[in-house]
Symmetry: C2
């Protein structure tokens, strides 16, 4: 196991710090297959927490889960021109199976629009079948040349929502509603503040008419796209013949949407809250919220401490996810170090001296603050501290996002600002200006913030032409 000293400080090398935190918290490791990672139990428990929360939100908004084949006929991808152009370079292809060469190669799904829209063409007959609201939890494969754990891996886990609607308005409402669900997950659960906004044309999903996104700021000032929601228009409907008979008796193409969130959000969680000691987890998503470390040398001491801990755990009940670390072959120091690296929000220490004073000690992972709490009120105080920590993590990240987002009015200021944060400026809307910024600064347009009204007139930060669009620029993962 990695020790505390093995975590490289953020200041020294942020990408190495990121890898070190993952290793020390035992979240994941590289596998023998290039670009693929093994999600270890600590990391998978985190994904299960995210899944449970998001799945409940997806179902509460009327969607149903289903499962579609992972292997897709190559010809399916070719049916939507932009879609195949976007994904062709990333495909893994099965050419042989059952000991024989296949007549038609099968691609491992990079996303399931094609397979699911083909099914929609059979499932949808009339306007009564709409909206059709489907979600799938699955693995997907996109060949990665520069893999990075959780952020970009050849195989990753995600949910992909696919819906069909009778009207463009209904479809657009769905696209916005699901982005709202993602924003709730990010802010209320993961304590990650985000901009919810629209992608520029060059950053859209392959085949989409519009792509909405939530964008978060990591501690190094780079952006991370945390989830996207796509207006697919009628392009896929036409390619896969997804039609319905409307109330007026006419046959019409359905309006389609899709939206997805992946294991990548775990990377965002790490880079938003963690510090040079290791992982920091927001209490709401922590698989273990409180670790209890008993202290005691003699058997009598151990029994008395155990009794107090049993009472505390009973008082906390199922409201709080606790873990008792009663291993006898690890020192107190080793245990504290391990739970710090694993990001457990609260660590409780309880020994004979505390017991004599009817108290225990609680250490908060994020601030490092230790406080003494009377046993009689410990359960209440623990729940309170978990709430406070959740609120503080979001507050700190929000301050960073706000302070790290600066409005710039000349090109030099833009260049400087995207080294450490997000720059807001006017943009003429031309792809050439976008491309120039990317080439010279590595920053891209993260999005066109749609909740902000244009304030006064402006000129493009690059070409200085009159500009009607205010955009966010940043380097990104």
């Amino acid at each position: 196991m990695a020790t505390e000293s093995s975590i490289t400080p953020r200041e020294k090398d942020f990408p190495v710090w990121y890898q070190d935190v993952i290793a020390a918290a035992q979240l994941a490791e590289h596998s023998p297959v290039k670009g693929s990672m093994i999600i270890k139990p600590e990391g998978y428990a985190l994904w299960e927490m995210i899944q449970a929360d998001l799945d409940a939100r997806i179902k509460a908004t009327g969607h149903r889960n289903a499962y579609f084949p992972m292997l897709i006929p190559e010809s399916f991808l070719n049916k939507e021109k932009q879609h195949v152009e976007g994904f062709a370079p990333e495909l893994a292809v099965v050419t042989h199976a059952g000991g024989e060469k296949l007549d038609e190669p099968l691609v491992v799904r990079p996303t399931s629009e094609t397979m699911i829209h083909d099914a929609f063409s059979r499932w949808i007959q009339s306007y009564r079948d709409l909206p059709l609201l489907i979600n799938q939890w699955a693995n997907v494969v996109r060949w990665e040349l520069r893999p990075r754990m959780f952020l970009r891996t050849t195989e990753f886990l995600w949910q992909e929502g696919h819906t069909a609607h009778a009207t463009e308005e209904d479809m657009q409402a769905e696209v916005e509603k699901m982005l709202g669900v993602y924003k709730e997950l990010a802010q209320d659960v993961l304590a990650i503040p985000v901009y919810d906004c629209e992608k520029s044309e060059s950053e859209r999903f392959a085949g989409a008419k519009r792509t909405l996104t939530i964008e978060a700021m990591m501690q190094d000032g780079k952006a991370l796209q945390m989830g996207t929601s796509h207006n697919l228009g009628q392009g896929f409907s036409e390619a896969f013949n997804v039609m319905f008979t409307d109330k007026d008796g006419q046959r019409k193409y359905a309006w389609l949407a899709s939206w997805g969130v992946s294991t990548r959000v775990i990377g965002g969680l790490i880079m938003t809250h963690s510090d040079d000691k290791g992982l920091v987890l927001p209490p709401r998503i922590a698989p273990v919220q409180v670790v209890i470390v008993p202290i005691g040398k003699t058997e009598d001491e151990q029994q008395a401490v155990k009794k107090a801990i049993d009472e505390l755990m009973l008082a906390l009940g199922t409201d709080v996810r606790t873990h008792l670390d009663d291993r006898d072959y690890q020192t107190m120091g080793q245990k504290c170090n391990e739970w710090e690296q694993k990001g457990i929000p609260l660590r409780i220490e309880l020994g004979p001296r505390d017991l004599a004073l009817s108290q225990l000690v609680v250490a908060r992972r994020d601030t490092g603050d230790k406080e003494t709490v009377k046993l009689s009120v410990a359960d209440k105080r623990i729940k309170q501290l978990l709430e406070e920590m959740q609120v503080d993590l979001l507050k700190n990240a929000t301050t960073r996002l706000e302070e790290g987002t600066v409005t710039v009015s000349d090109y030099e200021a833009l260049k400087t600002q995207v080294q450490t944060g997000f720059a807001r400026s006017f943009w003429c809307g031309m792809a050439e200006c976008e491309t120039q910024v990317k080439a010279e600064t590595k920053a891209t347009i993260r999005c066109l913030p749609f909740e902000r009204k244009l304030s006064g007139s402006g000129s493009c930060i690059v070409c200085e032409m009159a500009a009607a669009k205010e955009v966010l620029w940043a380097r990104s993962y």
Copy 2:
């Protein structure tokens, strides 16, 4: 949607009846990729129920979930000789990715022993790391020439447990414990009685020293293997160098086990309980346990009925999974037919005439019995009926299993018995005799029931040599 009349009776054609039930209940459908099925929302909800129950049991027995890459280097499979011989004919192979031919082909996992044992070789250092108890929920691919929905599909969903132990005894205890967990799932939740027993050598998992199995009897008398648990000995440890330093300071190979249950159990659920009207679901696993169909023509009637239903649903609370079918474009007959085909355990009808008498009508899916229940006790009676139905389904299936298992003492009787059920007989232990029975009757040794003691002496049902093993023969899925 299929109508009732479209379900072929079991007597007429059992395999076609099976397909008809799946179609009418909207559980799954064929996909454009041969051998792969689409699990539709009704079918996937069933899998989610099974997953939730089994996952809780797996965690309660100390296992933790993780996730390993789906693409496995071909060379990994070649490391364990029997394993690769067993799986080679079924592999799907990725030869190209990212636009290039791969240096080494990657196989889509048919099972994950090789990838996981490779990880175990890094994760296990000392006896303190043992037992290592890991489980994975995943999709796997085994190329199928004769696919059948849920029972044999090219891609299927499952959980695969993989564990490492310091001693052979610990490993064997794990193998038996997890078979016990599977038996509980089958009997207590799915209401499917099973024989828990051991496979003969010819039917073992490729690479296993022993394979335990739970075997159920379908309504046509055929056997279905519902779950298996394998003693892998030290073969994979040697192939993947899974070693640990024991308490005595010696480096030793770990003892490995694996066990799995797949979407195939849904096929078993269908073929155990369903009837000529469609699916029948045991209440404990039914995603919807009670469907409520209101009756009423005038708006006043509808409002009064709605009020009574709201009160009932409040009284049932979260203990009972209910669905209100208030669609206005379907007749009562269409609705009843649909819910019958979908196997909802209880259907409640409530109209103005019932309301005047302060009662409602409950129809039980399995027996077809209808009873009138006073509104004041309806919530209690509904819960009782759900329990009763669960018990009755298991009782009926147990009677079928017991009556359908006959001890035979001559070869002709064996041949006859396996046409309609299971035959129990003595067997000499020679593969030749097993092969002869298979060739002549299509029946195989399902297992050697390990809970039964040999009663007296016996002779092999085939060669009539003195025999020490009592076995179960059956045709199987």
